[in-house]
């Protein structure tokens, strides 16, 4: 599952982006995303794509492990790209590049920043209850995914899952999900009791400093701003 892969990369990575502060990476991501969304010229988008690929190399992020995730937006943008391609193939290509580029920008952030750090940054602006829900969901995912993988393994071993029999799969999968929900809800009651004993009052304290960690952090934010300015400015070359 992608969430587990990304979590492993972000926690265990040692690249340039992994060492930067969460705030600087968030600011950089916002600038980069804005650049992708604002750009309409094919040449600009190609340049942005080269830049983002350079950042992946610079951050020691294995494109083989992450790159396939950019295929999802490429696939879903294809429908819109085909519509636009009726007017001009360049317009179609622009749509695909924008989608893939924005997704790669998000992947760069997620592959270098643990989710908990992002939730800590979001806790500054979002209601505490919502951030708690994010943290619990993130934790619950890993607990339940392990159980679901075990259930699916049992179903497969007994011949209950075959890619070519969707109705049989649906029946067996729903039973597995039903079992998982029952186990999950029983677990949630125990979790709440433990939290209540520990004095949970509606906001899990997240100790994470958002302050930039040095000149490299300021440099990263500045780089993002320069890229956005370069996208907005008109170039008469």
């Amino acid at each position: 599952m992608h969430l587990a892969e990304m979590d492993h990369l972000s926690v265990n990575g040692k690249g340039f982006f992994h060492r930067r502060g969460t705030l600087s990476k968030l600011v950089f991501t916002i600038f980069m995303l804005s650049s992708w969304i604002i750009s309409r010229e094919l040449s600009q988008l190609l340049l942005l794509l080269l830049l983002i690929l350079f950042f992946f190399v610079m951050g020691s992020i294995p494109l083989k492990k992450v790159g396939h995730l950019a295929l999802y937006p490429a696939f879903f943008s294809l429908i819109f790209a085909l519509m636009m391609a009726q007017q001009s193939w360049v317009n179609g290509l622009v749509i695909i590049l924008k989608a893939v580029g924005a997704a790669l920008t998000m992947l760069l952030l997620i592959a270098t920043t643990p989710y908990v750090d992002i939730f800590a940054a979001l806790s500054k602006v979002l209601p505490g209850l919502l951030v708690d829900l994010m943290i619990f969901t993130y934790r619950a995912f890993f607990l339940l995914m392990e159980k679901m993988q075990a259930l699916l393994r049992i179903i497969r071993l007994r011949g209950g899952y075959d890619a070519m029999t969707p109705l049989k799969n649906l029946q067996n999968l729903t039973r597995a999900l039903g079992t998982l929900v029952i186990q999950a809800f029983e677990m949630s009651e125990r979790i709440y009791q433990i939290l209540a004993i520990r004095g949970y009052s509606g906001r899990i304290p997240l100790r994470h400093s958002l302050k930039p960690r040095g000149t490299a952090d300021f440099g990263l934010m500045l780089a993002g701003m320069v890229i956005l300015m370069g996208t907005v400015m008109k170039w008469n070359l």
């Binding site: 990304m6 749509i95 994010m134 998982l180």
Partner: protein, 249 residues
């Protein structure tokens, strides 16, 4: 099923920002309307439901990546208010690794949130008169159908309905008959029937494309609708046999 996998850069940014503002306002209202102790108590169960939505979406049912979204099931299990919060968290996590654009998380939350709301309310009403499984099936049909209609309206109104479906692009269809007929009457009186015939052929072609386009969209949506409803109904039926208190809340 109704989850919009529309990537960033297609739907205008103003729509995406509007979606975020409205969904955040709704979430703030939900949190304020709830008793703090009750909300705290329900957080772990809601998180479990949200995690199960992500897991459900990651298990393909067929050789192509068709999956269950389990949004209505989440509404049935944790109620529409907590279900809406769960939907936002799920969309945010999915968008972080490329499943749907990060700029449309708000819009996606509104769409699937409406599915959660309608599904859970309809289920409550239907289970008084029908069996729990039939109630879950009907509730899912109602919820998913609504969110699908909203999704088509949203994508159609931003991309343009004329652009959503395949069609001929040799000029504006409305102008075609006027130009053809005028030219025919003035320049080629004997060619009238030929031009008239080509106009009808053109019209038939447009109708054919429009019909096949909508038919394809309709068929895909109907298949997804039935799959989600059957899946939710089977899971709820399982709860009724094994742990009925889950759906009697």
């Amino acid at each position: 099923m109704s989850h919009i996998h529309v990537p960033d850069g297609i739907i205008p940014l103003s729509w995406g920002a509007g979606g975020y503002v409205v969904s955040l306002l709704i979430m703030i209202l939900i949190i304020r309307s709830m008793d703090a102790a009750e909300a705290r108590q329900r957080i772990p169960a809601t998180a479990m439901a949200a995690a199960i939505m992500i897991i459900g979406m990651s298990v393909p049912l067929f050789v192509v990546p068709v999956h269950l979204s389990l949004a209505v099931l989440t509404g049935i299990l944790v109620g529409p208010k907590m279900g809406f919060l769960a939907v936002f968290v799920v969309n945010l996590i999915l968008a972080s690794f490329g499943h749907g654009g990060i700029t449309i998380v708000g819009l996606n939350t509104l769409l699937i949130g409406s599915e959660v709301l309608v599904g859970s309310v309809v289920f409550k009403g239907l289970k008084q008169h029908l069996s729990v499984r039939k109630g879950a099936f009907g509730a899912t049909m109602a919820g998913v159908a609504l969110s699908m209609v909203l999704m088509v309206l949203l994508v159609g109104s931003t991309a343009g309905f004329s652009e959503v479906l395949p069609h001929h692009h040799h000029g504006e269809h409305d102008e075609l008959p006027a130009v053809t007929l005028t030219e025919t009457q003035e320049n080629e009186p004997h060619g009238h029937s030929h031009q008239h015939g080509s106009f009808h052929e053109e019209l038939e072609r447009i109708r054919y494309f429009t019909f096949t386009g909508w038919a394809a969209v309709g068929t895909i949506f109907l298949a997804g609708l039935m799959l989600e409803a059957a899946g939710t109904s089977l899971i709820v039926g399982y709860f009724q046999r094994v742990k009925p208190q889950l759906i009697d809340r």
